[in-house]
């Protein structure tokens, strides 16, 4: 493959990923509304299109046609920049997550990952830490006390939970002996999913993922009864859509990360024993990846409509006094596993 | 490998360091002074990585790792001190913090 072929293939991959992510985001908003309706014994959106399936597009157009208001007290450049930071971070994380095994298409061997970086997990961690900036700048530049409090809460929360997130990932890295997501998925062959081998780390990671994506029960940065809308109180129109999109894209990415790190990625246990053809196996594996992501997205939404919001001090003490020690225990547990069974 | 001579990287780091020193000397706000200290640490790191890479020896990068750890510790403690001072004096301008006891 010469350089141009690599560039073109990468561009096609990026395009596919972006389109898929946008569709996932649009429909997770739709399913969020449908599932919340189901939980609360309502009907939910059912007017636009069959069963309300075109509702996300109606929502997007509604937002685009609204007036874009910048408050007089706001700092204009940063106010405009903040949603773009959030969006950029949310979308670029996806580059290192493998969606399936390498496939042969038109004579090319294609890895189903945009960039197989050998320090991919660190890249993800670095980008997640960047996500704080969108929210912090949004909170500060709006010139409103609700936004500022939301921004401060959010950055404190995200920094705190990043610690336990990093330590849970360390357990996975010990197991796979590599920082590359592709290798991490390959290390979880058969039943050796990290969720089974290190359940404590799985739990701490999932909880941290909820906190990092600012989802209920940890959605204190935008807690409506206390802070109006948190950091996006002063946002409207396209910029609000940007934050909204980024939130759901973060949710999709958190799900994809959980699948990659703990639920075996695209692997289906013992599928090679079934003796299916190569093409069929690959298709089932890719489909299983999407199924797992979908199931986790459902889990995210389900939790949101089932569990009430934490108080801020409860959130902090949960992060530092429960999740962090548990993540440390997980590392010792994994080290012991590796020592005893020579994994 | 590159055609960029090692001196270019070093000069870049020297410029960065000087900018950092300038900030520490002329700015009044303690937090900006802090940022400039981070600039200086970064420029030192840059020259360490340069030497490490041009000598083909990873020890320089290990040192960068250590410097970053110390910088993180320094940022945490320094910021705590700044906040404590702000609580007592209601200012973080270093030219107004000029007595031993209040």
């Amino acid at each position: 493959m010469n350089i141009w072929e690599i560039i073109i293939i990468s561009l096609i991959k990026i395009l596919i990923i972006v389109v898929m992510l946008l569709l996932t985001v649009a429909y997770s908003v739709y399913f969020e509304r449908k599932i919340s309706a189901w939980v609360q014994n309502r009907v939910g959106p059912n007017r636009v299109g069959w069963l309300g399936l075109l509702q996300p597009f109606a929502d997007v157009f509604k937002l685009l046609f609204k007036e874009d208001i910048i408050p007089t007290a706001a700092n204009k450049p940063l106010h405009t920049l903040a949603p773009f930071i959030a969006l950029f971070v949310a979308f670029s994380t996806y580059a290192v997550i493998p969606l399936g095994p390498p496939v042969e298409l038109f004579g090319y061997k294609i890895n189903l990952v945009v960039a197989d970086v050998n320090i991919g997990i660190l890249y993800v961690l670095a980008l997640t830490s960047l996500g704080v900036y969108g929210i912090t700048f949004a909170g500060w530049s709006s010139g409103s006390k609700y936004s500022l409090l939301g921004g401060i809460r959010s950055s404190a929360q995200m920094i705190s939970y990043e610690v336990s997130m990093g330590f849970s990932i360390a357990g996975v890295l010990l197991m796979s002996q590599s920082l590359s997501p592709v290798k991490i998925v390959e290390a979880q062959h058969g039943w050796m999913w990290n969720a089974i081998l290190q359940p404590i780390g799985f739990i701490t990671f999932v909880v941290s993922a909820f906190a990092e994506t600012n989802r209920l029960p940890f959605d204190l940065p935008e807690a409506e009864p206390e802070l109006v809308g948190g950091y996006h109180t002063e946002y409207s129109s396209f910029k609000f859509a940007g934050f909204f999109l980024a939130e759901y894209a973060n949710m999709a990415i958190a799900s994809a990360l959980i699948v990659t790190l703990y639920l075996g990625g695209w692997q289906v246990p013992y599928i090679e024993k079934l003796g299916l053809s190569y093409t069929l196996t690959t298709i089932i594996q890719i489909a299983s990846m999407f199924l797992k992501i979908g199931a986790l997205l459902f889990f995210f939404i389900w939790v949101r409509w089932s569990i009430p919001r934490f108080r801020y001090d409860q959130l902090m003490s949960l992060g530092w006094k429960v999740m962090f020690p548990l993540a440390l225990v997980n590392i010792i547990w994994v080290a012991a596993l590796i020592m005893i069974f020579n994994l | 490998m590159s055609s960029i001579p090692m001196e270019y990287y070093l000069i870049l780091s020297a410029f960065m360091f000087s900018v950092g020193v300038a900030g520490v000397l002329i700015r009044r706000n303690a937090i900006v002074v802090f940022m400039c200290i981070e600039l200086m640490l970064n420029s030192a790191n840059l020259s360490l990585v340069t030497f490490s890479s041009y000598l083909g020896n990873p020890i320089g990068q290990v040192f960068v790792f250590f410097v970053m750890t110390v910088a993180a510790a320094e940022a945490a403690v320094g910021l705590a001190i700044i906040i404590a001072i702000f609580r007592n004096k209601k200012t973080v301008n270093i030219d107004e913090i000029n007595i031993f006891k209040w």
Binding site: L130, F137, S144, S155 | I4, G56, A72, A75
Partner: protein, 165 residues
């Protein structure tokens, strides 16, 4: 001028110009914002130098940790909801003279020294080497740094907390 050179000059320009803005802009939040670009520029140069691990750690530690802490400091030490956060400068002239002399000396030393150079041999990734060095030759320093971080954590918490009577 190869592609590599252009990238070097690009990153060098980003680093230097944003560093100058950090020092010169009057708004503290803008300073923090430009510092973000400086850190990114330095990370880019690390990648050019073949230090990918250090580059990512730079973003994680400086951008994701230290700079956020500094922004926190800005927000906690100013009147809340005050968008116009400004501070002045002092002692411009003596500082300019001092820095001019200092920079001239450093740059002169860097140019005129006969550096001992090995033929450049950059491995694909240095992560493994760094890891090995950290737990073999430098393990004592590594452990001490862990203790230092713990002490800093406790110290920072105890300094910043309000006294409870």
């Amino acid at each position: 001028m190869t592609f590599y050179d252009i990238i070097f000059y690009l990153f060098a320009a980003i680093t230097l110009i944003s560093a100058l803005f950090v020092v010169s802009t009057r708004n503290i939040v803008y300073s923090a914002f430009y510092l973000l670009f400086t850190f990114f520029g330095v990370a880019g140069i690390y990648v050019l130098l073949g230090a990918d691990f250090i580059a990512v750690v730079q973003i994680m530690v400086y951008v994701g940790g230290i700079l956020i802490l500094l922004l926190f400091g800005v927000m906690l030490t100013n009147k809340i909801t005050n968008v116009e956060i400004r501070t002045g400068t002092v002692q411009l002239l003596p500082a300019a003279i001092g820095i001019g002399i200092f920079m001239g000396a450093v740059v002169a030393v860097m140019i005129w020294t006969e550096w001992k150079l090995e033929p450049a041999q950059i491995p694909l990734t240095t992560t493994k080497d760094i890891g090995h060095l950290l737990i073999t030759d430098y393990v004592l320093i590594f452990e001490l740094l862990g203790i230092l971080l713990l002490i800093a954590l406790i110290g920072a918490a105890s300094i910043a907390r309000r006294d409870q009577e």
